[in-house]
Every structure is written in structure tokens, then in C-alpha cells.
Amino acid sequence: MLFSSITFLYYFLPVVLLLYFLMPFRYKNMVLLIASLIFYAWGEPVYCILMLLSILQGYFIGLRIEGTADSRKAKVLMASSIVISLSILGFFKYFDFFIANVNKVTHLSLPFLRIALPMGISFYTFHIMSYTIDVYRGKVKAEKDILAFMTYAMLFPQLVAGPIVRYADIAKQLHEREHSLSQCYLGSRRFVAGLAKKVLLANSFGVLCTKFQDSSDKSVLFYWIYAIAYTLQIYYDFSGYSDMAIGLGKIFGFQFIENFNYPYISKSITEFWRRWHISLSSWFRDYVYIPLGGNRVSKFKHIRNILIVWMLTGFWHGAAWNFILWGLYFAILLILEKYCFPKWTEKGNAVLSHIYVMVLVIISFVLFNADSLSQAGSDIGSMFGLSDIPFVSTQALYYLSSYGVLLLVGITGSTPLFKVLYEKFAEKGKGAFLFVILEPVVLCSLLLVITGYLVDGSFNPFLYFRF
């Protein structure tokens, strides 16, 4: 089920909210668990079993790890849980990629599985892996209450597209959490804001990207419009989803990790990755990069560590070479920033640094969205006039004028400008009293406009559902 659907907004959510707040605390996890099962089964009924198996192995192995005094046995148990999790992920997500490459190299015709990727598998696998590793490391106590553990692993706000919430962060909240008027309001506000980002902005940019892909009147300008639109689409799509997840979590009394912090204002790629998909990059940092030695090793090993982590980050996003290349592209940029021009990225001209980051990020997302490496090469080449297309075309001009305002809103909205203005007028300024009425009116109006967009059945996929 999608957050941005009529089914979720006007059928599922009201019922869940009603039941959740009517039930006494001891039943609240049960309500969330059942709701999460329905939420997942609505889109992937068969894969519910797979998810449950994955969760149960994490739960039982976690208990065994804690229950054993033998550190070697604990290590084996932890490793076995990781192997199980990665085997499931590898089988469902990477098997066909592996076969395709074997076929290519050996000229064999091994059959493909051609099975649909289970929704959210990359996210819940990482939830469970972080849990068993943390139990092994003694960072958290193993969860004895199976209901609480399943609620953690399946919590519908963050189940299918993150943020990757670690058990350690919400272990306490699973057993005791506060529900307050302020939490409920702030959560609702965050949810509506995320929904607006997704439905009004990301989907509209998605339509523009589709128009570009369907067009036979391409030009250099049109390639850049597409590249910028996709860069905005993926940001609003994913950060919108994270906002909705964090907002829903807040309503139910949970505090989830922030996942985005205005990544497009970064002045270096290093800073960009501190602001983009924070829960994923911190996961790889804590569970791959640091165990490999992090930066406290020789220069050669440090570079190796960066390459491994970013290749895995790319591969996590999808079973295709362009994702791996996308990860390595960032690895190389990070290495260059670290070892070749560290001062320039720290003290360089702010405008130039910002342009440098955005151009490289835009190119990276063209690579990210390509169906193949050859298409990525062709798209990026066309952006720089390296193909036989004109600089401007009628369609490019039309879509630039038609989507101009939306692109401006999208670009401005990816900076903290609106937040700063809001804080100035609504929280500290004289307009604070006005906002007592204005803010709820704006939120309700947004919800109605979003409903209008949804009812009209426009373009509505979540990009991160395929990861």
C-alpha cells in the first residue's frame, strides 16, 4: 500500500488511528503489528511469509546470541543470521543479475528466475541485520517480547522505504512511549508536508521525466531539463516518504532518525552524503566501513574501504551495473575530495563549490536512472552536446515554460529558505498568532489539493520501492 493513495489515506489510516488511540497501551503494539501486516499484505501478500521468516530468524538468533556465554558461538550465530538475511536478499534481488552476467561471460543460457522484488526487502533486511549485530556487540539487549520485536521490524511507517531505523534507537519506545497533543500535531504536519512533497512535486517532476523519455524531439536543453527534473523528483520522492514515515512515527509515539537534511545545499560531495539518505550511509559506516578499519588504516586500505562501502551502497540500490558504477562514482569523488583537493572543498568559493556539487549530483542521478550503462553514457553525452541533437527543441521550450514555476518551487524548496521564513514569521515573529489559524488551514487545504491529485489518478510510483 502506498502512503500516497486514497486507500491508505481514507480507508486504512483513519481506522488504524481510531483503533490505536482507543486501545489501552498494552494493546497498541498489537494494533500496529496487525496494521503493518495488512499494510504489507495489501501489496505483497505472498511475500509476507518471506518477511516473517526473515524477522523470526532475527528474533530467535538474537535471543540465542545473548543467551550464550561462548563468544565464538555468538559470533557464529550472528554470522549465520547475516548469511540468512543476505541469502534471502541475494536470492530475490540479485539472482537474475548474477545469472545475466554468468550468461554473458560464459555464453550459456542459464534460465532467469524473473520473480518480482519483494517490497521493502532491502530495508527490513538491514533492520534485522543491524539488530543481530548490535545484540552481538552488546550494544542492545535482545528483545524478548516477540510482539515488540515484530512491531519494530514491521512497523508500517518505515517498513518499505525507510528510514532504516535501528532497534537501539526505538527499543525503549517499543515498551513505553509518550503520546501527546504536540507530538500528534507535529507528526501530522510532517506527514502532510511529506505527502505534498511526494504528490505535488515528485509526481509532477516524474511526469516531466516521462514526457522526456517518450519524446522524439530531444535536445541538449531537454536533456538538462530531464536531468534536473529527475534530481528533484528523487529528492522529493524519497525525502517526502521519509517525512511521512517520521511524521506517522511521531503520531504513534516513535522518534525516527532524520533521513535528509537539505542535501542540495552541500558544498562538497562529502557534505552531500552527510545530508542524503542519512540512515543508509550511517548504516554502512557503522556496519561495514568502521569494521573494515575506517580511516584509521593506511592510505591504501582507506581508499579500499571507501571503494568497498560505496560499491555496496550502489549495489544496495539495485541489481544493475549502473548502480554499482553510481556508487563507485561517488567513491572516487570522495577519495578525490579527501586526498587531492581537501582545502578547496573546505575553503573554496561557496557558489563554485555548490555548482560543482550540483553538476556532479545531477550527472550521478542520470546514471542512476539509466536502464543500462550504454544508455547512461548516451544520456550524459547528450547533456554535453556529444550526440547528433539540436541545442533547443520545440518540446524542450514548451516543457521549460510549462514546468518553469514548478522547477523554481522545487529548487527553492530543496533549500532551507521556506523553513527559515517559517521560523521567522510563525515561531518568533509577530505573525505567530496568525499562524495559530493559518497553519491548520494551510495543512487542510494541502490535504484537499493532494486528494484532488490522487483522485485524478496521476502518476504515482515510489522510486525507492524498487530498492
Binding site: M1, S5, I6, T7, L9, Y10, Y11, L13, P14, V15, L17, A41, W42, G43, E44, P45, V46, L181, S182, C184, Y185, S188, R189, V192, L200, S204, S215, S216, D217, T394, Q395, L397, Y398, S401, S402, Y403, G404, V405, L406, V409, A432, F433, F435, V436, I437, E439, P440, V441, L443, C444, L447, L448, V449, T451, G452, Y453, V455, D456, G457, S458
Partner: protein, 368 residues
């Protein structure tokens, strides 16, 4: 204090919006048809374990939830206003408004589709007309985009190429170009079609090219329907465009003609006025979509017949040609297979006119 008040008002407002929407959704009886969109609405699917497991139930439920949403048209209108007035987007669902005329973005030229149409027409020529004594003509009706799109900065199909391809591909027929006879004012503002009351001169030109120009009097009485007309783009644009009026032309000959519909077996007049109050009032012209019709002119001086292969644009033009013929057979090969036409039509020594719009030629895969 102020914050607490804001929280209370905010939660109350959002809860009322969400729960009211939810309650109306659950209680509202399901609608069958959307008048504005002119289509059947999807209804909530019956639950079955099989449909749940194969993942079709959820998709169908969401489709129905969107279609059955209370105040659907009003919500679609909110979206249109947001798109046009807030984000200044130029089209909504591919419909744009220029000078008060709603039109569809129809680009690029789909050459495969044009070729598909040419193949269909060639089949008719090879099967029924080749070697016969029929005089064959082709007339392509420009859609509104021809007069509206390029001039106002909207992407447009390559009309010149389309006309050239059709002319070259139908070298067995005389080509009648009517583009200079028309302007955007000859079309409805809210609909795809042209206005019959403006087609007198166009019909005359076609008639002259077909050798019946002298028979067409050009004298018509203009009749105006009192019912408001909202065209197909009214619903698609979801904007409150003004209603229009349908006008239709009559004279003694048109009034005396009888139209036989092979599909329904009914005989009617040229205009079915009761359809003016139906879901698509434009269907009043020659009964709307019909695979095969004949129009008999009892006042014809000579026995001369015409066969017209057409789309919906033909419905309002063909009545204006009847003065030149004793009988016109009207064929829509979107609804009848070309291969069975010999069972119904005698092609020998008849005039034949292929009358198709650019809209259909650019999306011709419904031709059978």
C-alpha cells in the same frame, strides 16, 4: 499557550477532514457513470482470496476508490486550478486552453499509425475498388491543434508531413485539402469536433471537387438546441469552461432523408434530437458512433450514390452532401471489419470518400 491552541485546532481540522472523507467514502452509494468524463466508473471489486493473493484486488480497490471518491469532479477541479493557476503549467492531462478553446496535445506525428491507416485504406481499395469505375476521394480534417498549437507555442505534430504522407499513400484517390476553408472558430471550444453550422462552404468545396457542387444549394436553416453542450474536453480539463450550444442545419432535402442503422435496425432522421439531452450531445448527428448507416434522399433527381469511410467528424459534414446523392452509405471501420463489407455494400460505380481527422490518423489502431 498559542502553540497548544494551534495543536488543538490543527488536529481537529485534520481529523475532521480525514474522518469525514473516510465516512462519506464508506457510506456513499457507488456511482455508475461520470457525465463529465463520459466514462463508466470503476466499482469496488468483490473480495476473493485468489484476487488478494495475485495482487489484483488491491489495485482494483484503489482504482475504484479514486473513481468513487465523493465530490470527485470538484477534487479534479481543485487539481486543475492548482496546476494551471498556482504552478502555471500549460496543460492538465494533455489538455490545454488557448483563447478559450480547449485542445489536446497531440504530438509527435506517429508515422507508424499513419502507415497503419494507409494500409487499412489500401486494403479497401484493393479488395473493393481496384479495377472498378468508382471515383475515389480523400479529405483529411485538421484537428484544433492545427490552428492552435504551433502558433501558441505548444508542441504540434508535423501536419505537413501527415498530409503529404496521406496524399502520396492514397494516390488512387483525388485529394481534397480543406485546411484553408477552416479556422479555429469553426470548432467547439469544449469539444474535439467542428461546428456543423460553419461547414456549408467546406461541404461546397468538397462537393465541387467530387463533381456535385451544383447540386449543393448551400441554403440551410440554422437550428439551435436550447440545451447546454459540454464537450469532451470539458470533463478532461476539469475546468469550469462555459457551456456552448449545438446548432444544426436543415433544409427540405435533409428533413426528408431517412437514415437506416444496420446495427440497431432502426430508421431515423438525419438528426436524433433526443440525443441532445444524452451523455454526448454531438451524437445527435447521424446517431453518433455507428458501424454502418445508409442515408436515403427521396428527393434526389438522379440515381447517384456515395460511400463514405469516416470517423466522428463525418457525422456533421455528411448530411450536407446528401443533396448531391440519392443514397450515401456511411461506414466506420472502427466498428465493422473491412473484410465483411461486401456483404452489405455494392461498391460498383459509386463515388467513394475517405473522410478522416488528423486525430484518428495519428492514433489509427482502432481501424479494423
Amino acid at each position: 499557550m498559542k502553540e497548544k491552541l494551534k495543536y488543538r485546532i490543527g488536529i481537529a481540522a485534520l481529523a475532521i477532514t480525514l474522518f469525514t472523507g473516510s465516512a462519506i467514502n464508506c457510506l456513499k452509494p457507488q456511482a455508475e457513470f461520470s457525465d463529465s468524463e463520459r466514462r463508466q466508473l470503476k466499482k469496488h471489486p468483490e473480495w476473493s482470496f485468489g484476487s488478494f493473493l495475485d495482487n489484483t484486488y488491491g489495485d482494483k480497490f484503489e482504482d475504484a476508490a479514486m473513481d468513487q471518491f465523493p465530490f470527485r469532479d470538484e477534487f479534479r477541479r481543485i487539481k486543475s486550478y492548482t496546476l494551471y493557476d498556482l504552478f502555471w503549467e500549460k496543460d492538465n492531462n494533455g489538455i490545454y486552453i488557448e483563447d478559450g478553446y480547449a485542445a489536446k496535445l497531440d504530438y509527435p506525428l506517429k508515422e507508424e499509425s499513419v502507415q497503419n491507416a494507409l494500409t487499412s485504406f489500401r486494403y479497401i481499395y484493393d479488395t473493393y475498388l481496384l479495377g472498378g469505375s468508382s471515383k475515389i476521394y480523400t479529405c483529411i480534417v485538421p484537428d484544433k491543434g492545427y490552428y492552435l498549437a504551433k502558433q501558441n507555442g505548444y508542441p504540434a505534430m508535423d501536419y505537413e508531413k501527415l498530409y503529404s504522407k496521406m496524399k502520396d499513400g492514397m494516390d488512387y484517390s483525388g485529394f481534397i485539402d480543406i485546411r484553408n476553408m477552416l479556422s479555429i472558430k469553426d470548432y467547439y471550444k469544449t469539444d474535439t469536433h467542428w461546428r456543423q453550422e460553419d461547414l456549408g462552404q467546406t461541404a461546397k468545396k468538397i462537393g465541387e471537387k467530387m463533381g456535385i457542387g451544383d447540386s449543393l444549394s448551400g441554403n440551410y436553416t440554422v437550428n439551435t438546441s436550447k440545451l447546454p453542450f459540454y464537450g469532451v474536453y470539458y470533463g478532461q480539463s476539469a475546468l469550469p469552461l462555459k457551456s456552448e450550444t449545438i446548432k444544426y442545419l436543415t433544409n427540405d432535402i435533409i428533413d426528408s432523408c431517412k437514415v437506416y442503422n444496420y446495427e440497431t435496425g432502426k430508421t431515423t432522421g438525419v438528426y436524433e434530437l433526443n440525443k441532445l439531452s444524452g451523455k454526448d450531445p454531438y451524437e445527435m448527428f447521424l446517431s453518433g458512433a455507428a458501424p454502418l448507416l445508409t442515408i436515403e434522399n427521396p428527393k434526389a433527381i438522379e440515381n447517384k450514390e456515395l460511400i463514405v469511410f469516416r470517423d466522428s467528424f463525418g457525422s456533421s459534414l455528411i448530411p450536407l452532401l446528401i443533396e448531391g446523392y440519392s443514397k450515401i452509405t456511411v461506414v466506420d471501420i472502427r466498428y465493422v471489419k473491412s473484410s465483411i463489407l461486401k456483404d452489405y455494400i455494392d461498391f460498383d460505380n459509386r463515388d467513394v470518400l475517405f473522410l478522416y481527422s488528423t486525430l484518428l490518423l495519428n492514433d489509427s489502431y482502432s481501424l479494423k
